[in-house]
């Protein structure tokens, strides 16, 4: 099972780099840190018989700047043609710089940080009102949770008892201006989530066994759950790893070739 996920995640990482090189701009660091989490969600955790199924599980990429990772997963899933990936950020493309409506699998536009989580709470609330069986997953950045609306949303999820909601924090430790702990520390995250009425589970965001265990606990919890995934910004491309300079910069030709060689290892 893990080898298939690893294969998909590797393909996604290559497509992330290819998209960003083709676009000439975008966010490699946070796309690569989230790739394994997104691969796990789409290819193991979530129940999506089809994107038009009203009971499909919902995924909201609240850290919308990791759009290339989402598009790569949706390309593996079949809602985006692989040939379309090179149109990222180009005029007329469905693949907007941040996720936009009009693509199966994108429930709400995201990128304005915090709003995606808030909408995900609304989706989980709708499921509860309707007695619908679907689960809702929202992936946030660790810098993103500095937004006040994140805590408004967590409070509401807890208040309305939305046990079908899982919030994932891609805890890569870096944001545009530097280390998250230097810019504005949101730590400790787990204790804060617990204080807001969540169950919180920490795991490695690059180990499928660890992700599997954390999501199983999240699903079993009657409370809304937070999965705090320890990740490496730029994961998989050696020279991008843990380098804040790769938050929002596309590789040039040489760097692209180097990155692909790195991934093909």
């Amino acid at each position: 099972m893990n080898s298939k996920l690893e294969e998909i995640a590797l393909e996604m990482r290559k497509n992330i780099i290819m998209q960003l090189y083709s676009a000439g701009s975008g966010h490699p660091g946070g796309s690569l840190s989230a790739a394994d989490i997104i691969a796990f969600l789409y290819f193991e955790e979530m129940n999506i018989p089809s994107f038009s199924d009203p009971n499909r599980d919902r995924f909201v990429l609240s850290k919308g700047h990791a759009a290339p990772a989402l598009y790569s997963a949706l390309a593996e899933k079949g809602s985006i043609d692989k040939g379309e990936l090179i149109t990222l950020r180009k005029l007329g493309s469905r693949l907007q710089g941040h996720p936009s409506m009009g693509i199966d699998g994108i429930e709400v536009p995201t990128g304005s940080l915090g709003l995606g989580l808030s909408a995900a709470v609304g989706m989980a609330l709708a499921a509860k009102l309707d007695g619908a069986p679907y689960r809702t997953y929202a992936l946030c950045g660790d810098g993103e949770i500095q937004e006040g609306i994140v805590w408004e949303a967590l409070m509401a999820a807890s208040h309305y008892g939305l046990g079908s909601l899982t919030v994932i924090v891609d805890n890569n430790g870096l944001q545009i201006d530097g280390p998250v702990s230097d810019v504005m520390s949101p730590y400790p995250i787990a204790q804060k989530a617990i204080a807001f009425g969540f169950d919180a589970f920490e795991c490695s965001g690059h180990s499928f066994d660890s992700l599997r265990e954390a999501f199983a606990k999240a699903k079993a919890s009657p409370k809304p759950a937070m999965v705090i995934a320890e990740t490496v910004k730029g994961k998989g491309v050696g020279f991008m790893e843990n380098d804040v300079g790769w938050h929002g910069k596309a590789p040039n030709k040489e760097e692209y070739e180097q990155a692909m060689a790195c991934l093909e290892g």
């Binding site: 609304g122 989706m123 609330l125 609306i149 408004e152 309305y160």
Partner: protein, 313 residues
């Protein structure tokens, strides 16, 4: 209908609509009693969501509910709805064209004693600037009721601007909104036309009465559908009358005056004077004293019409 606040009429209409439309969900931010959506809460507690004092999250949750097939009405005071939650409305409601209706009460100076922080005077400007947004400002209870039905029965984002204070009755129960954003001609007249919205429509009718005593024939147009609007009647009166005066309980910057002036500048250049709040914040005080202090009474409208006519003569 009796002279009741537009917020009350809107809240009552939601209760009626909720009976036959089970998709309707109403959200509040701890002001359900004041916005009158508390009426819906009392009738359909299972379809009422209180977001607490967290307006951005209220709008975000409304978007998530709408993305899951609900019709979501998010209600609070205009300063917090259109103001604090502006960016959530922009990115989570208007951009994806979701079925969210922002129903904001306590717009304008009529809030009274609570003062400037609670008197929203820029919401028409903010909401009108958003693509995909329909912006409605009812002149009285009957129109607010019509607008509740229009908003809930039409797909997509709406902003409905409601007032705290009672609105004088203009329409009876047979009134129906002009289709396609038409501007309703309430009173005909030849010399000048007053184009007003919301609480200023009744004052404009009073102003027309004052002017009639001086032999000035003044039309009154209800520009209640701010966006989209059909300018047919506006152009017709710009051609017929010697001057146009707008009247709004809103800032002159970006509100009805700006909208009417820019439309006429393109289609039929006309002299357009505005009655409204002139680049100022509000203040505490009884509403009637505030209207006098900020020069937005019926007498101020009449005076502006005279001024407009003199400038042309």
């Amino acid at each position: 209908m009796a002279d009741i606040p537009t917020r009350q009429a809107f809240g009552e209409a939601l209760c009626e609509i909720g009976e036959s439309n089970s998709r309707l969900i109403v959200l509040d931010a701890d002001l359900a009693s004041a916005t009158r959506t508390g009426l819906f809460r009392d009738k359909f507690p299972e379809r009422h969501i209180n977001a607490g004092i967290a307006e951005m999250n209220m709008v975000g949750m409304a978007a998530g509910l709408a993305a899951s097939g609900k019709i979501a009405v998010a209600s609070t005071f205009a300063v917090f709805g259109a103001g604090r939650a502006y960016e959530a409305i922009r990115n989570m409601v208007c951009y994806p064209k979701l079925n969210v209706k922002i129903a904001c009460t306590h717009a304008g100076l009529g809030v009274g004693e609570d003062g400037a922080t609670h008197q929203m005077l820029e919401d028409i400007a903010l909401m009108n600037a958003l693509p995909n947004m329909r912006v409605l400002v009812p002149a009285d209870a009957a129109e607010a009721r019509q607008m509740a039905y229009e908003a809930i029965n039409s797909e997509g984002p709406f902003y409905i601007r409601l007032a705290r204070q009672p609105s004088e009755t203009i329409y009876d129960d047979t009134y129906r909104l002009e289709p396609s954003g038409g501007i309703d001609v309430i009173k005909d007249g030849d010399d000048a036309a007053i184009v007003a919205c919301g609480t200023m429509v009744a004052k404009s009718l009073e102003a027309a009465g004052i002017l009639a005593r001086d032999g000035i024939s003044c039309a009154v147009l209800n520009f209640s559908q701010i966006k989209p609007f059909d300018s047919f009647n506006l152009i017709a009166y710009a051609k017929k009358a010697k001057a146009i005066v707008t009247a709004e309980e809103h800032s002159l910057k970006g509100g009805l005056h700006s909208i009417v002036a820019s439309e006429l500048a393109e289609l039929h250049p006309t002299y357009v004077l505005g009655v409204g709040v002139d680049d100022k914040f509000g203040s505490s005080g009884p509403p009637d004293e505030l209207f006098e202090s900020y020069a937005i009474t019926s007498a101020d409208i009449a005076e502006k019409v005279r001024l407009a006519l003199r400038k042309l003569i």
